[in-house]
């Protein structure tokens, strides 16, 4: 019982940190103490925190490497924008439309997670890294040539150009190929972002500390022993991957509905790696570390704008300090693990 309370205490501290940070930033915001660039970053920071937390479920708890997390963010972003724009006539409440957009984003990203996960997670070895890497690029390129619009007849799609969708002249173009989603009505708020972080924490923490979460971590620690205990390997790897994809999709919807336009190029390999950096620097399997790393590494470049000349120097020093402070032992073990995984697999 002692351990259970220690684990849930840890979880409650994480909720507390998020709530305290929200109160601090919200009061800075309402008393106009926040620079305009930083206040514009609040929702993206929330989205990145959710991204980092969800990737940590795959990388930290399931022990798989995913290099295409931004792909799920992209799917969530565009699905969310489409849902929100398509419903702008029928659902008048902005908050409710945001909720629907986030749920739709999560569902579509989860479906993509299932489609990728089922074939790949059956295999042993680091195939997931390769496939997710390709997935991220494919999603970016597919979205680059997607044209989606809505009129009184419903949604229209095309992969050629906006005109070939055959819409009524009064229809709206939602996604315009490489120019991305246009004319988005900004619905995301800092409060909504904070709530999404809390929900993400709730889902991941409770999942990890349950029967399924033990199975997921057990498979990571020793696949052969887990099988010998009767654990369905593919099922639990898929569970972690799909939950993670769904959360990334919800982050994507939150992110996209914070801007008037979103281009597919935003969710490229660099974004996937950036999120992976948050996870590795924050500590593999360390949720609080992911939160802190995502916030610090997003805010820092903004704060350092004034010190143009020394910006990269300070950034580098902070990176090193973060790495030393958080579990860099685990990070190095993880990097070693990538190379040693094959030899561990032998019975």
């Amino acid at each position: 019982m002692k351990m259970i309370s220690k684990k849930s205490l840890n979880g409650f501290i994480n909720y507390g940190i998020i709530i305290v940070l929200f109160i601090i930033f919200q009061s800075l915001l309402s008393t106009k103490h926040l620079s305009s660039s930083l206040s514009g970053q609040l929702v993206p920071i929330c989205a990145y925190v959710v991204m980092a937390l969800s990737l940590n479920l795959v990388v930290g708890f399931s022990g798989e490497l995913s290099l295409g997390h931004a792909g799920f963010m992209s799917i969530g972003a565009f699905a969310g924008v489409i849902a929100s724009t398509a419903l702008s006539g029928s659902v008048t409440s902005g908050g409710f439309r945001l909720l629907i957009a986030i749920i739709v984003g999560a569902i579509f990203a989860a479906l993509a997670g299932v489609v990728i996960g089922i074939p790949v997670l059956r295999l042993r070895g680091d195939y997931l890294a390769i496939v997710t890497l390709a997935f991220g690029e494919i999603i970016k390129n597919v979205m680059n040539c997607m044209y989606i619009g809505v009129d009184s007849n419903g949604l229209h799609f095309s992969i050629q150009d906006a005109n070939s969708m055959g819409m009524e002249p009064t229809g709206t173009i939602i996604v315009n190929g490489p120019m991305g989603a246009l004319g988005i009505k900004k619905l995301s708020t800092f409060l909504a972002g904070t709530i999404l972080i809390l929900i993400t924490l709730f889902i991941i923490q409770n999942l990890v500390n349950s029967r399924s979460g033990r199975a997921i971590a057990g498979i990571r620690d020793n696949r052969i022993a887990a099988e010998a205990c009767g654990i369905q390997i593919t099922k639990y790897k898929l569970m972690a991957f799909v939950v993670s994809a769904a959360l990334a999709g919800s982050a994507g919807a939150l992110y996209a509905l914070n801007y008037s336009t979103v281009v597919p190029k935003k969710f490229d390999f660099n974004t996937s790696i950036l999120v992976l950096v948050f996870v590795v620097l924050g500590g593999i399997g360390n949720l609080r570390g992911s939160i802190i790393a995502a916030i610090v590494l997003t805010v820092l470049p903004e704060l350092l704008r004034e010190f143009q000349d020394y910006r990269m120097l300070v950034y580098a020093i902070v990176l090193i300090v973060v790495m030393i402070v958080t579990n860099n032992e685990k990070a190095s073990a993880f990097i070693k693990g990538i190379f040693n995984k094959k030899s561990k697999e032998v019975a």
Binding site: S212, R214, G218, I224, C229, G230
Partner: protein, 286 residues
Amino acid sequence: MANDKEQKLVRVQSPNFLPEKELKNAPILEVSHLGIDFGGLTAVDDFNMVVGQTEICGLIGPNGAGKTTVFNMLTKVYQPSRGTIMLAGKDTHSMNTIQVNQAGIARTFQNIRLFDKLTVEDNVKIGLHNSINYGMFEGIFRLPGYWKEEKKSHEKALELLSLFDMQDLANDYAGSLPYGAQRRLEIVRALATNPKLLLLDEPAAGMNPSETQELMDNIRKIRDVFGIAVLLIEHDMNLVMGICEKIVVLNFGKIIAKGTPSEIQSNPEVIEAYLGKAATTPGKEA
């Protein structure tokens, strides 16, 4: 349908087939003509063995004889090249590792395989996984099923740990335990899967004489309390001769002797296999 027919066919052909009513007294494990090749190398050949429902059996032989490979075939880590394995009257041919575990075989590993970054209690709870009855959503949303089943599995885990007097270590990380405790935890975790047959691969390796003595008592206790069969691989002859009712000796993948401890001890072929091996290659282990 097709599957049904196939199953029946196998059963009729198998010399080990027994009508349901006789299963009660039937052996838990019947292995016949089991063999496996790795490329050109035949690691195990024509392995035959029967284990009774509450028997403690030993599998001994020099290093590299193929003992662990037999365990790996029984648990389907390796698919055998030849032969049949009947577990409680059922052919395990089409089963995988997970299904074999659910059908009643649990094991420990020669090179310890614990969930190092999880607590001792969580290691045991993973063993209990298939007897814990709630799903992902009940876990995430902390529905009544979660609380009820977690309470039950917590109690069950501590009860199993107390068998080996390890309940005070419940919150320690498995990877941080001393060697002997890690071996004991592996046995507890295996027992948690509720097996009919427990396979122990060198359970006394790295233990001191007093720990080994305690282990012998505990293996007997497990058999008596749970009423299950135990098949163990071990190099410690005091342990093997002390608790095994039946011993099979393997050398170069082939059975060279079978019998009671006293029969094995006086078997000239066994003595030669051990002495000959010891003289050429001392203690190489995977």
